[in-house]
Symmetry: C2
């Protein structure tokens, strides 16, 4: 049994079957990667409160439930009250407690429970709950400042521009508020979003909701790199939580970044984009072409210029046909910091399959989530370049897109986003 054999690899077998489970190493496994493995050293639950919200630099959990909401009231007090209630419920659920103080079964029989019950008996499952505010919370499309927040709207919090491959479905895009729930158990993530939506009944409605079944990002050096539905490792170059200087430089909004939005200091921006993959077309591409599009090998994830997964790519190494081994339009080149003013993103994307597409294939892809200090410098330029030039774009269709400002963490006694309303 290899030294790094993960607990997840044993999940199907139990300790007693470890020898049997180990047999797979001679089968499909061609390496010691365990894509979905939990982080061995991670705690069983995370605190809701702190300088930053959880679910950003937290080691990426295996499962996602993301939801965007429309606020259906113009009453600022109702909005604040909702954020207070959401703060309380999120803090409770992240600790493994029910959404409300009464709980799913503890109350009188003539009242609805304040927790829906499907997580009874389940542990916290490393749940994180992360809240964001969309541009439309500050100013509606017709310019209305319905909550008196317009003068505090961050300059960078605008509807993202149209990118060449965008074919956006408004019903999968935008949103006044968002909640990202990540956990190792999908039932726990679903329970969290479902109860927060329940608490918001009458104040918000769910605009869209997205489950992700497998993480495609690595946000801790302890995690192995998972694979996306192109079959390639994804997230090799991601910012890791341990890279604290890069996190400070590229993820957290700093005090002074935006004089109108000092309330956002310690927060971040969340870009959410639903990348549908034309996987049936992709699957008919030769292996060599797939690797050329990505710029890495499919097996180990090493750059085509050689080495291992974490070897720096040599973008100048000559290849055949008078070009470089890593092609000019290879994904790894176009998104590399060396060609993007040194910017990096902290990505937390998830694989999804949502039934079928009209062509008789799977509606599958990558729900891209990235936290950046400023979308104007850290997302829009790189996405513009990628959409125009990246060889992978032929196999990607973006049908959902949103941008949110993610306030800093709530301190003791505060509700999330309180500084915005103070």
């Amino acid at each position: 049994m290899p030294a790094h054999f993960s607990r997840r690899a044993l999940l199907g077998g139990g300790a007693a079957a470890a020898g049997v489970a180990g047999a797979f190493v001679a089968g499909r496994a061609t390496e010691e990667s365990h894509a979905a493995a939990a982080t061995p050293s991670a705690p069983a639950s995370y605190p809701f409160r702190g300088a930053h919200q959880s679910g950003i630099t937290t080691p990426a959990q295996d499962r996602l439930h993301f939801a965007a909401f429309d606020v259906i009231t113009d009453d600022r007090d109702d909005l604040v009250e909702l954020l207070q209630k959401w703060t309380d419920a999120a803090e409770r659920m992240m600790a493994g407690d029910p959404a409300g103080t009464v709980g799913p079964v503890g109350g009188p029989s003539n009242l609805p429970p304040d927790d829906t019950g499907e997580a009874i008996g389940l542990p916290a499952s490393r749940l994180t709950i992360t809240f964001g505010f969309g541009p439309s919370l500050f100013r509606t499309d017709d310019g209305s400042d319905r909550f008196g927040l317009a003068d505090r709207q961050p300059a960078a919090l605008r509807t993202l521009p149209h990118f060449p491959a965008d074919n956006l479905d408004p019903a999968r895009s935008y949103g006044d508020l968002c909640i990202q729930a990540c956990a190792d158990d999908p039932q726990v993530a679903v329970h969290a979003i479902r109860n927060l939506a329940r608490i918001g009944f009458g104040t918000v409605s769910v605009r869209y909701s997205q489950l992700g079944f497998g993480r495609t990002s690595t946000t801790s050096v302890d995690q192995s790199t998972p694979r996306n539905l192109f079959g390639f490792k994804d997230g090799t170059m991601n910012i890791k939580a341990e890279e604290t200087d890069d996190v400070s430089e590229h993820v957290w909004v700093a005090s002074g970044d935006d004089p109108k939005a000092e309330w956002l200091a310690g927060g971040s921006y969340l870009v959410a984009r639903r990348f549908g993959m034309t996987i049936e077309v992709w699957d008919r591409q030769p292996l060599g072409d797939q690797e050329a599009f990505v710029g890495r090998t499919k097996d180990s994830g090493a750059p085509l210029s050689g080495g291992g997964e974490f070897t720096a790519p040599d973008f100048d190494m000559p290849g055949s046909n008078d070009t470089t081994i890593i092609a000019p339009d290879a994904h790894v080149r176009l998104v590399h910091p060396d060609f993007n003013d040194g910017v990096r993103m902290l990505r937390r994307g998830y694989n999804f399959v949502d039934g079928t597409n009209p062509l008789g294939g799977l509606d599958a892809g990558l729900f891209f989530l990235a936290f950046v200090r400023n979308p104007d410098t850290h997302f829009i330029p790189i996405q513009t370049k990628m959409a125009a030039n990246d060889a992978l774009m032929e196999y990607l269709k973006v049908n959902g897109s949103a941008l949110f400002a993610v306030p800093p963490g709530a301190r003791d006694g505060e509700y999330v986003g309180q500084a915005l309303f103070a």
Copy 2:
């Protein structure tokens, strides 16, 4: 730490954090149920071949990917060739191997790989792959016997009748073929369906596809009872694999059951129904009403007549208001074998959330899967009664429905369903 503390409960924490994980017991956990727990004694992988197909009496895995297909050729040889290819690929993938002999990265760079690669490094994850044949494979709606199978169509393999709560979407219903993939890792289940669909390109198209994130059934006495999105334990009365007499009586088609379809002996029928739950309405019902609708307590799952989860309900026990404690329209009463000629089903359902509904709520519910010896005796009568009388039906909307004949297992050298074509 309780004696039955599951490995899954530790998943978020790792062995080193077991003490921390144990803290949840004082939090949300009100019992020792671990809904999503894997079966401790289950092996790491299952064999594809045997007297019966896997994925029926196999201990229910945590995650589901189900797909129904339309056959887009009228060539019987093409259909047979597909079943041969599917058999080979399913046997390989269940063992933790790639879908094809070359694998995702082992082939020449000028050819597409014969495996899509997203399961590289992942173990078998207790994957099971179960194939079924819909009525339309035997005879199309216009009566065409396109594959020369009409005289072998089982008498009970017909489009299910319309039930009162049905509001079927044809795009989520029916199908010539189906594949149920269950695994403990959703990436492995998705990989299986995706590769089988890839292999079928040109012969079949995906009609619909459904992910289930959490099992709601218990098919082994070693498993704890999970919860559905009503928040109640589901599957307490389910047939367990260990109840071999009941499995023989209620699940497997026996030789002689249907003279026209002797090929189905050792197989079963699979009923697949997509039950959307109006969870936002449900969540506003008082706890006492929820329990009255179900006929069990929400906490332990005990019948309202008393005892524990597995205590037999006392349907005659008087309650208030001149009726019984377990109401006449309680779900547990209507579906109980005592009131249904003793019939039982083997259910293998899964919770799902598929985005949003038009009312601003979650499109959530239960993807009902049940294996029965004969739908005419084991499903249609009970579903008719339930649809007409069950208190739960007010909170359920059925928008997908299908019936499949599930051939017996493939023996060495056979392909799945071979006896049908012999």
